[in-house]
């Protein structure tokens, strides 16, 4: 049971970890100073949340594990983040689109996780939710600004949403582990979030004058540890220091 809970917590943390890493890549490369700072601040929020999750997971595990071994020393197949968050920083519209599609889910997820029967998880969710509320506002604003902006920005924002849409269904497909955790009131039944998600996303896309993608095929696998080709590159960069200098600290 405890082992399953550790796995479950890691799955939640992995979404924020990999998205935070993607956003961290933008440090010093944002399209403007303000957006650069905003995206790296969001990254920092996500890493802060990740640390809380991993510290708790390490405590539950009770062996030599630490937040660092969870973050840096697992193999690709052991990361359970959704495919959406590992997608590359193609252009600013993609970065915003990926953020928006995840933020709306993240907010709904944390709203439910606040009622987890596990007090630590509930506390982390409550804390994180306050931060994520600002993330949603930031990414929604930019989807609207770009979508309802110039012809060029509209086309790019539409293309990003169209391309990233195939990764959205995975957010709501319950794994066996997620079912077990929601049945025992520890976790969230993500399949129940779909309707509210689509409502919130559609409202913003409408305002942004972006058509809601008509997609029949969805790509999944991250939650089972089967990742896209991008994941190996992310981990190579992220794990480099710990692999090269084991147990190093700053």
């Amino acid at each position: 049971m405890s082992n399953h809970l550790v796995q479950y917590i890691c799955g939640i943390a992995d979404n924020s970890l990999i998205l935070g890493q993607r956003l961290g890549e933008l440090c010093g490369h944002g399209p403007s100073l303000e957006t650069d700072i905003a995206l790296t601040n969001i990254s920092l929020d996500l890493f802060g949340q990740v640390r809380s999750y991993f510290q708790y997971a390490a405590e539950l595990q009770g062996d030599q594990s630490s937040e660092d071994t969870f973050a840096f020393l697992r193999k690709e197949r052991e990361y359970r983040n959704v495919l959406l968050v590992e997608q590359p920083n193609t252009d600013f519209a993609y970065i915003i689109g990926r953020q928006f599609l995840f933020d709306v889910y993240h907010q709904l997820f944390l709203e439910k996780l606040q009622s987890s029967s596990d007090q630590t998880l509930a506390a982390i969710a409550k804390k994180s939710l306050k931060e994520v509320t600002y993330h949603v506002r930031f990414s929604s604003d930019w989807v609207i600004r770009l979508g309802d902006g110039t012809e060029e920005s509209h086309n790019r924002m539409s293309a990003a949403i169209e391309d990233l849409w195939i990764f959205t269904e995975e957010l709501f497909s319950c794994t066996e582990l997620e079912k077990e955790m929601s049945n025992s009131a520890l976790g969230v039944d993500v399949s129940l979030l779909r309707e509210a998600y689509l409502n919130r996303v559609h409202a913003v896309l409408n305002e942004a004058t972006i058509a809601i993608p008509d997609v029949k095929y969805f790509q999944k696998g991250g939650k089972q540890g089967i990742h896209s080709e991008h994941m190996g590159y992310i981990l190579t960069e992220m794990q480099y220091m710990q692999r090269t200098f084991p147990n190093m600290t700053w």
Binding site: A38, D45, L46, G48, S52, K127, E131, F138
Partner: protein
């Protein structure tokens, strides 16, 4: 229990109130509402702190500063980090709010007003330099995650606004 007021033993108050926030040095960690409890026990002082934001990089430094300040006064201490109840900007004391304004950071508004300000619907954030409310949002994230960047349209100074967190 009123959560806005931490439980700090009288002997420790002045010591902790002299430890400044590493990112906003004009503010003490007590004024910031980061110290939730400080008690003298059988095994030294136990201090409980809570982060403003999850990723706040100042927490490790704050822990070290607390231990050092107490040690200088002859107390051994342990510092514990708690997440619940989660920090809110309501815990910034009135002295703390005044210190923020004096330092050039606009203090947080009420949740509703904050939302209006950050959506750019109403001009209500007061410029800490000239006190004008003719100010506009530049970016929802300022120098740190807890602040937004504004600019005054009267004196033209850019400034940080401490976002409401509740």
């Amino acid at each position: 229990m009123n959560l806005a007021f931490p439980t700090i033993d009288t002997e420790l108050y002045a010591i902790l109130n002299a430890v400044s926030d590493p990112e906003i040095p004009v503010l003490s960690i007590v004024q910031m509402g980061v110290v939730r409890a400080a008690r003298i026990g059988d095994h030294g002082v136990e201090v409980t702190i809570t982060p403003t934001y999850s990723g706040c990089p100042a927490m490790d430094v704050i822990g070290d500063d607390i231990r050092k300040a107490l040690k200088d006064e002859g107390y051994q201490s342990t510092v514990k980090l708690v997440l619940s109840p989660a920090w809110t900007t309501d815990w910034i004391t009135s002295e703390g709010r005044a210190a923020l304004e004096k330092y050039g950071i606009a203090a947080p508004l009420s949740p509703d007003a904050d939302k209006e300000a950050l959506l750019g619907n109403r001009r209500i954030v007061k410029c800490p330099q000239c006190k004008s409310t003719n100010t506009k949002l530049i970016s929802q994230f300022g120098s740190t995650a807890c602040k937004a960047l504004f600019q005054c349209e009267d004196c033209l100074e850019p400034f940080d606004y401490f976002k409401c967190l509740k």
